[in-house]
Subunit: 337 residues, 2 copies
DNA sequence: GGCGGGCGTCGAAGCGCTTCGATTTCGCAA
DNA sequence: TTGCGAAATCGAAGCGCTTCGACGCCCGCC
């Protein structure tokens, strides 16, 4: 193993000088700096992570807690996780992967053992048991999603209320007067993931503002449920000409059911969905949608965390990311009556 | 922070004794052991990970390299990753998440800095640039998937050849005499992911052994491609009554296309798929399939790695996991002619 | 010409743990 | 009672790094 002493000897300086070159915490003359840099390269030196952590009480590692069982779309989860790793590397940090099967004990462990110096928690529920633990540990943290009581915590999420509003406005602008929200299965709402409620209220509010008639349907993912929903829409609610679907896996079977019922999209019915961006291209017609900005969420979470790590106490407690609507081919003016 | 000295004082022993209680590397009397354990609990002591790594030159962390761009089904990827984390925790190790956007440099970095003491690499390609790096670093490692030249490396994967054989045998047992392999898009084969070829050869071999007529079709995921494939099968290859689908995302559109063409499954056509287990229940009819044992693969990879970490040099270089066929409702004897 | 003050560098003291030899203790045979 | 080996415990030396105070040097100023 190459140590800092080896580098120092090679460059003809003291170990502390090498350390200062590396950290930039003291002024070093350009000449020395370059000589040391050359020695580092020549010897292929990498500081020993453990020694560094011990001496500086900074591990330069953050923990990422990923749920085992999730309400989120799995590919999105991975996208966010990857974005977090990439962003963390950009700030010279690595990412330790934690699951929930150790329970909150895992959080205690990595924090108390100084394995990590900050935490990002994904897929937060309304009454998430991890929230109080984070408060208690007093370790910098960022949650992706909002618990019921976010006091004292830093949270990031898509502004689902605004997203639903964007969908409604888009349909209203096209001339639709009756819109439905096809939400996630009823269970999700009850289990207490905040975003479902926020979507709902944003939907209702925007519809009221635009004077639209509304309908709200949870919908299971299964094939049959999609058909039932499609049929009900056509027979019992002909006034509904625009759909806001906030339930990604339902989209393909729903489209199939509509096709089966000879309902054309967007001729007879317009659809705008909220979900992972890649869904748009995966179905036909190409979906108009409000994508979940996974990459951006991950990046932002890391930026907030780094702010807290650097002792910046102006880090906002709540960050709602602005949604954008991506036009596709699944929305058009309603059919003439 | 609670240190080992605090625990020692509290228990009335020396720090080294506490260390030996923790590691079990020397005999400690039951009385002392219990007293120390009580002190540890009372003070909530967790050893400082960095200090431990420094002194013992063992970080008790393994790196998991996850591809950014993947040929694997994403949920499977995550399942394997989670299984790895869980299994690693079972061996008192944590998992550091690495992406490939640092290139192989990231591997160098975490290895040379002693951040991790072993590596698991996922989604290995035939000419994977990480393979030579792993050999060179001389750090215990396990690959999930096989490179073209696995010499000197430890690899784990599903036995895709046997899996394809299992599918063919199942169809042959039911009386089918003409079977087709619906494989991944052509690009995948060329890009050099070994499993596609192994599936192909297993398929051909088993079919030859059973005297079946065969057809091999790559198939894109898109809706249109699925329809085209379905139509071609019915019009040009009526002798084909059994399908082996090794291309998970194609299954739903393919089923839809067949339904659209009034081909019943399994009445007119039997389908057996290789892919993530959860696919089976997600479509109708419930699929007969050879699931990819994500959980088991992750666990096995960790076990092999721990073997290498403990200096066990009987760790096999190659581990092919035996496939199992799960009967569903998508296969039946072929229709009478 | 002397002196104060940066700037650049060094030396040494830990950070908390493991580990190895040394030391103590104990049980038991002589 | 003494001696001896095994069992149990201790003390101290690092592991490789950061950091803080100290030091030397050179420059500019009076």
């Amino acid at each position: 193993m190459v140590t800092i002493a080896d580098v120092a000897r090679h460059a003809g300086v003291s170990p502390s000088t090498v350390s200062y070159v590396l950290s930039g915490k003291r002024a070093i003359s350009a000449a020395t700096r370059e000589r040391v840099a050359a020695s580092i390269k020549a010897l292929g030196y990498h500081p020993h992570a453990g020694a560094r952590a011990l001496a500086s009480s900074r591990a330069n590692v953050i923990a990422l807690v990923v749920p085992l069982r999730t309400d989120m779309h799995v590919p999105i989860l991975l996208q966010i996780a990857m974005a977090i790793v990439t962003a963390a590397r950009g700030h010279d940090h690595d990412v330790l992967l934690l699951t929930n099967d150790e329970g909150t004990e895992g959080l205690h462990r990595v924090a108390r053992s100084a394995l990590v110096d900050a935490v990002i928690v994904m897929d937060v529920e309304l009454h998430d048991p991890r929230a109080p633990v984070l408060r208690e540990l007093g370790l910098p943290s960022v949650l992706i999603g909002f618990p019921a009581d976010p006091a004292g915590l830093t949270c990031v999420d898509l502004d689902f209320s605004a997203a639903a509003g964007l969908c409604v406005d888009h349909l209203a602008d096209l001339g639709h007067t009756g819109v439905a929200l096809i939400g996630p299965p009823a269970g999700v709402l009850e289990r207490g993931t905040g975003f479902a409620r926020r979507t709902l209220s944003g939907f209702e509010e925007a519809a009221a503002r635009r004077g639209l008639r509304t309908l709200v349907r949870p919908c299971e993912t299964a094939h049959e449920a999609a058909w039932a929903t499609a049929k009900e829409l056509r027979t019992e609610h002909p006034e509904i000409t625009g759909l806001v679907v906030h339930n990604e896996p339902t989209v393909p079977p729903l489209l199939e059911a509509l096709r089966g019922l000879d309902v054309t999209v967007p001729g007879d019915l317009s659809i705008v969905a909220m979900g992972p961006q890649d869904l748009s291209a995966a179905v036909s017609p190409r979906l108009t949608m409000v994508p979940i900005p996974a990459e951006e969420m991950g990046r932002r979470a890391v930026e907030l965390l780094m702010g807290k790590l650097n002792g910046d106490d102006r880090v906002p407690g709540s960050t709602l990311m602005a949604p954008r609507l991506m036009a596709g081919d699944s929305t058009a003016p309603p059919p003439p009556r």
